[in-house]
Amino acid sequence: MTSSASAAAAPSGQPHVRRLIAIWLLLSVIAVPLVIFVLGPHMPPFTFSNEARDQRNVNILLAALGTPVLIGIWVALVYSIASFRQRGPALADGPPIRGGGRLQTVWVVATTVVVLFLAVLGTITLLGTAKGAGGGQGPSPLAVPHGSQPTLPVQVIGQQWAWTFRYPTYGGVETTQLAIPAGRVIALHVTSLDVNHSFWAIRLAVKADAIPGSDNVAFVRPRRPGSFKIRCAELCGLWHGHMFTTGEVLTPAAFATWIRREVVANAAATKVLPPYATHYFPEPLRRAG
């Protein structure tokens, strides 16, 4: 073991600490506005629906808060590597600092405060401002958005391996395509006929698991007409990767035309459908051949 005399004689870390904090502050002051104002507007899931916008704002906030942390630890790592690297074969010991003390307290308090802040803010966003943020909330949602017009219920039925959609307010017609009117609150009742699926309307920023025997409600407020991709986000078997389709947000007038056409086109199927229900139990029994 080498002597620690040289280590004990080393100067204190004060100038290093000051320099490190200066670099960190400088980089953070540059990076955080860049994240908020340059990257922020281009953050997924964009602004196609109110839910997407709310999620994007959360993403911007988390990125803005995470950036100084990322920079801080990277700067400390790189600074240590650059300043305290020992070259050559000589083996010298560093100063025997055991740690603890003020920095430790500051670190614990600071991380706890940030985390509690995030949790409180996340709860307020989820239940208050974003009204569920497009996520599945189960059969009795806590956060219900209200619009000027009545909410349009649409049932999303996952089955191996296709999505179908039922409109209980239009005679319970079932369709292969999802179309919804812009500017209205849509209540998506997601359920499944066999195994677990997950309904993900990517641009709408809606995700709700489709579980057999369960009614999982997610709300969405699309802001303007356009199309969006729907995918399955829970591994559901062979054609999971193929369980996608395209949905449309239409103007209220176009939606009225569309749904009328669908009612006519699917009349033969509608006649034989079971009455609308929040969930349908698949028969589990093993059938004889």
Binding site: I157, Q160, L238, H242, A269, V272, E283, P284, A288
Partner: protein, 218 residues
């Protein structure tokens, strides 16, 4: 250990590893059915299929399955079909299985075919009572979904081993669809027809080569 022995040991281990990896990959690839080209026909192609209640051969004699017929009239155990692009494809399905019934009656309506119809034993129909369906032939990405009428339970001369012959009890379903651009589209059955599996959705229902496959538009 001498240097030569060490080289030999490492070379041997490497060879064993390469062989095992090759077997592993081959085992995977072996599960891929060979594609069958639909027979040419005026305006496009003719695809002739049959569905059987039990394949009757190894590896899964009890599984329901589709089979396809080539131009010379021989039946092949495959579910990967090649059809021409931008053409009319006439599909004839000889259906030898009894009815199971649809889980979602929505699929009882014919969709995506020319005229939105099919013929069942010569009769033109646009839907089937959901409990009479034995299988469906559905290509969701092309919007095609056709329910196939099951054979009556009490019908005599039921087919038990593939390939089934014209003399055995069956229904004949025909329909035509128009293909678009080239691509590889999956097709499947929506009737929970896998006997003895939970939900009727296991085994053949989840296996390419049985109740699932690809339509390759070339």
């Amino acid at each position: 250990m001498s240097r030569g022995a060490r080289v030999l040991a490492v070379a041997g281990a490497t060879a064993v590893a390469v062989v095992l990896v090759a077997i592993y990959v081959a085992d995977f690839l072996a599960a891929n059915p060979t594609p069958l080209r639909a027979a040419p026909a005026p305006g496009g192609a003719q695809l002739t299929l049959q569905t059987v209640a039990s394949y009757g051969h190894q590896p899964h004699p009890d599984w329901v399955s589709y089979l396809a017929r080539d131009g010379s009239g021989r039946w092949h155990h495959t579910t990967v079909f090649k059809v021409p692009a931008h053409a009319l494809v006439r599909v004839t399905i000889y259906q030898y299985d009894t009815a199971t019934g649809l889980r979602n009656p929505f699929w009882s309506q014919v969709r995506g075919t020319i005229g939105g119809t099919m013929t069942v034993d010569g009769r033109t129909m646009n839907a089937l009572p959901p409990e009479e369906a034995s299988h469906t032939f559905a290509v969701p990405e092309l919007g095609i979904s056709v329910p196939l009428k099951g054979v009556a339970e009490e019908a005599p001369n039921q087919c038990e081993v593939a390939p089934c012959t014209a003399a055995q009890a069956h229904t004949t379903v025909t329909f035509t669809f128009r293909t678009g651009n080239r691509g590889r589209f999956r097709w499947q059955c929506f009737v929970p027809c896998a006997a003895s599996f939970v939900f009727g959705n296991g085994g053949p229902m989840q296996s390419i080569g049985w109740m699932d496959g690809y339509v390759q538009v070339v």
